[in-house]
């Protein structure tokens, strides 16, 4: 027990130090950035805010599916997790959620993220179009195109992670379906 407490304290101290280093690094990046790097950081931060829900949503689904696939069984713990997540998102009819299988619950979670996915990719597509138009001088000033491109690259970095997590969670879902894992009804502690 005592050893556990010490281990936790060491963990929190290390974690705090890591957070401090990250904060320090980000501040340094902001302070020393040239104008084009600043445009990049601006695009990165704004699209991280925009894609926040997608990043964590798909990451969460991929994580749950990864545990299920590696343990090769669906226990009620994981079903309850997905149910709780769906209830948080506004699926309030509890009786219906109780009847559904794990597969259907995951599909509901995917469906819920689709709205955010469409709006995110739509805004990214719009930014891409503006960038291309600026690069071909269709918007007039060359100066704008220089900085719009930086914003575009920052957005592309976030979009890469959003797309990767989305594909990972969907690939995991396909893999889960192919494995044909049986659901167990009894609770396991």
């Amino acid at each position: 027990m005592n050893f556990e407490k010490v281990a936790w304290w060491i963990f929190w101290l290390t974690f705090g130090f890591l957070l401090f280093l990250i904060f320090f690094g980000i501040s340094l990046a902001f302070l020393t950035a040239t104008s084009v790097e600043f445009a990049y950081i601006l695009g990165l931060v704004s699209f991280l805010l925009l894609g926040n829900k997608l990043l964590f949503g798909y990451g969460w689904i991929a994580n749950v599916l990864d545990i299920v696939i590696s343990s090769k069984k669906v226990t009620d713990i994981y079903k309850d997790r997905v149910k709780r997540k769906l209830q948080e998102k506004g699926f309030t009819v509890e009786e219906k959620l109780q009847e559904l299988s794990f597969k259907a619950l995951i599909m509901l979670a995917f469906k819920d993220l689709d709205y955010y996915r469409y709006s995110y990719y739509g805004i990214f597509l719009l930014l891409t179009l503006i960038t291309i138009m600026a690069k071909f001088n269709l918007l007039g000033e060359f100066v704008i195109g220089k900085y719009i491109e930086g914003v575009f690259w920052g957005a592309a970095t976030v979009t890469f992670f959003v797309w990767g997590l989305e594909q990972l969670s969907k690939v995991s879902f396909v893999e889960y379906n192919l494995l044909g894992i049986q659901e167990k009804t009894e609770k396991e502690g």
């Binding site: 990049y40 690259w153 690939v171």
Partner: protein, 167 residues
């Protein structure tokens, strides 16, 4: 698509993305650095205008920094036909900005009362210019031989030597 295939596709995309971002930042930094290097002006055409009694230079500024001609000096070496033994004009003050990446025409009015140029005269013009990054004065010397035609384009082997003088 399985996880292994996804891993390779993602790695490839990450490489392309890093290439693009690095290229973008490096390109713009290089452009900024190169933009700060002043170019040396090149006299691409020189002509003598008889009616206004002046020598006209077309000066190309190959850099992206604006240069300013602060003065011109003019050395005249008599040929066979002219009667003037020797004459010299020094440091005609001027404030002519040379536009970046473009050709500027600078006209140099000769001293009134002096004889007009004859064929065979050699003209040596020196242009003093400054750029905004330092207080130094740079010079470009240009020599051409007048052949008698009213508008004259010098041959392609333009002698253009650049000297960097600290005055």
């Amino acid at each position: 698509m399985n996880r292994v295939f996804l891993f390779f596709v993602t790695s490839l995309l990450a490489l392309i993305l890093g290439w693009g971002i690095g290229g973008y930042i490096t390109y713009n930094k290089t452009l900024d650095a190169v933009g700060k290097i002043p170019g040396s002006p090149i006299i691409i055409k020189s002509a003598y205008d008889k009616s206004s009694h002046s020598v006209i230079f077309s000066i190309l500024n190959p850099g992206t920094l604006p240069l300013t001609v602060i003065s011109e000096s003019f050395v005249f070496k008599p040929g066979k036909e002219t009667s003037e033994k020797r004459y010299e004009m020094k440091n005609i003050p001027a404030q002519v900005p040379l536009i970046p990446l473009g050709i500027t025409t600078v006209s140099l009015k000769l001293k009134e009362g002096s004889q007009e140029l004859k064929a065979g005269d050699i003209v040596m013009a020196t242009i003093h210019y400054v750029h905004p990054l330092s207080d130094d004065v740079y010079t470009v010397s240009h020599k051409f031989e007048y052949t008698g035609k009213p508008q004259e384009t010098p041959p392609k082997e333009i002698k253009n030597e650049k000297q960097e003088d600290k005055q």
